[in-house]
């Protein structure tokens, strides 16, 4: 049976200044599934890596939970560790103790919340199993359970899923963006992303019910998760009952997971994502809203309150649209072809124009333009060069 090792990162006394690590250590060591608990000063430093490597070399430990900072701050470092240790990166789970616990809660709530968060990570990492999705590197359909309803083919925003020769849908790794919209739409829940499987997510929900009431499971899309990190960084507090689970897009939240959450006795479910028409995956949030509206009707039938399941959108404000320099433009039309949102159109005079409302500032047009006529104000060539210079200087 596989057992997990837990790494507690002090983050130069930032985290352990607010969370009692000794008590956490004692409580985690009592867990049967935990083989060893170690504390390190900086898990992302070379010395931290050495300690983690020693822990991973222990005989019974084949998966790790690293309780440190946000995956958006140092996640890539731990992916690198996994690569060096020749371990699938799905077996290292990063628990965000810094932004979502130490900085976001009062000291008295933080200890308990930290334990719950680490237990959620443990559950996820212990449920991690390769059904073929790890090697595929994109959305993977479990053909043993799939019943060929073809919803995923219809809903995929990138048309990455096509019907294979064997009659089952299969995703093209070259096109798939790993947004998880197919995962959320699958009525049988048989699609998995390399790091996102419904069984793992529902396993994460089990330790929540011991949290402080009202217990809320928050499914935050990557964008909203970063915003939550930011709130932690500036010291804004949120309710200790809110447990943030990262999903690639709000469209990846399957209503099966919601049923699981209700069955676990969780009081409320929040799905947090972008404002309408702002979704980077084009229609993930619209699909999520549609599914949530359906599920809320189901909740009412069960005589549960509809308010238990809500969609919350964060207003992103307006993104600065890309600008076409008429003098440089040779009117090749490549930008209009490449724009994923159909924001660039040809006018009667033969010029190309950006529809500021439709543009979401992805920069695909700026990258593709061969004459350098398209520029994105928030990430112009000059700004990027300046950033590179400062990075090299540091």
């Amino acid at each position: 049976m596989s057992k997990a090792g837990v790494v507690l990162c002090r983050c130069n006394s930032i985290i352990d200044g607010r969370i009692d690590f000794e008590q956490l250590n004692k409580k985690l060591a009592a867990d049967k599934k935990v083989q060893a608990v170690i504390q390190v000063d900086m898990a992302c430093s070379p010395r931290g890596k050495k300690t983690i490597r020693e822990l991973a070399a222990m005989e019974e430990v084949d998966r790790l939970v690293v309780a440190a900072c946000s995956p958006f701050s140092k996640g890539a470092v731990f992916d690198g560790f996994a690569l060096e240790m020749q371990m699938p990166k799905q077996l290292i789970e990063l628990v965000n103790l810094r932004e979502h616990c130490a900085w976001a809660h009062e000291i008295k709530d933080a200890d308990k919340k930290a334990l719950t968060l680490i237990k959620m990570g443990l559950k996820k990492v212990l449920a991690a199993r390769d059904l073929g999705q790890w090697s595929a590197g994109c959305a993977h359909v479990n053909k043993l359970k799939c019943d060929r309803c073809k919803r995923c083919i219809e809903e995929c925003p990138n048309r990455a899923i096509q019907l294979g020769a064997d009659g089952y849908p299969a995703a093209d790794p070259a096109i798939c963006q790993r947004c998880g919209i197919c995962v959320g739409g699958c009525p049988l829940g048989v699609i998995a992303l390399p790091d996102f499987r419904l069984e793992e997510v529902s396993a994460m929900l089990a330790p929540l019910s011991s949290g402080q009431s009202p217990v809320i499971a928050g499914f935050f899309c990557n964008f909203a998760y970063q915003e939550a990190d930011l709130m932690g960084q500036i010291g804004r507090q949120h309710s200790p009952g809110l447990h943030i689970i990262r999903v690639p897009c709000t469209g990846a939240v399957n209503m099966i997971t919601v049923n699981d959450a209700i069955a676990e006795g969780i009081d409320g479910i929040m799905v947090v994502g972008c404002d309408s028409s702002q979704c980077k995956h084009r229609k993930g949030n619209e699909l999520a809203k549609y599914r949530i509206a359906n599920c809320r009707k189901g909740l009412e039938e069960q005589l549960l309150e509809q308010e238990r399941l809500v969609y919350v959108s964060l207003g992103e404000g307006l993104v600065e649209p890309s600008v076409i320099n008429r003098r440089k433009c040779v009117r090749c039309g490549l930008c209009a072809q490449i724009c994923p949102y159909g924001a660039i159109k040809i006018t009667d005079s033969g010029d190309y124009e950006v529809n500021a409302r439709a543009c979401r500032g992805c920069g695909a047009c700026a990258g593709a333009c061969r004459s350098g006529a398209v520029d994105l104000p928030q990430a112009s060539g000059g700004k990027i060069m300046a950033a590179i210079k400062s990075a090299l200087a540091g």
């Binding site: 073809k150 009525p187 069955a263 069960q302």
Partner: protein, 106 residues
Amino acid sequence: MPPKVDHTKCDGCRAEEEPLCEQICPGNLMTLNDEGKAICRENRDCWDCMSCTKICPQGAIETRLPYQLGYYPAKLIPKVGTNKIIWTCIDINGKVERFVVKTRND
């Protein structure tokens, strides 16, 4: 008692050849009507296994309880999770009970 399909919710699984309820029904009773909505073709042959009710992704199918079990307001609603089902039982007086049953779909 036969399954009752809410035709406003049913989308016939997007007019596929075989909707999920048709595939799952052990008696092969479910089918699509001319409008592409699910119907039960032989009501009296249904033995209330509730497979179609559980599988429907739209939650459009309700299994009517036989009168021996409960008259009209009584309901039995399953909601399926990954490895558990929540059964909501509403009796004829409107009393609600919930049961969470583990399944073996891990």
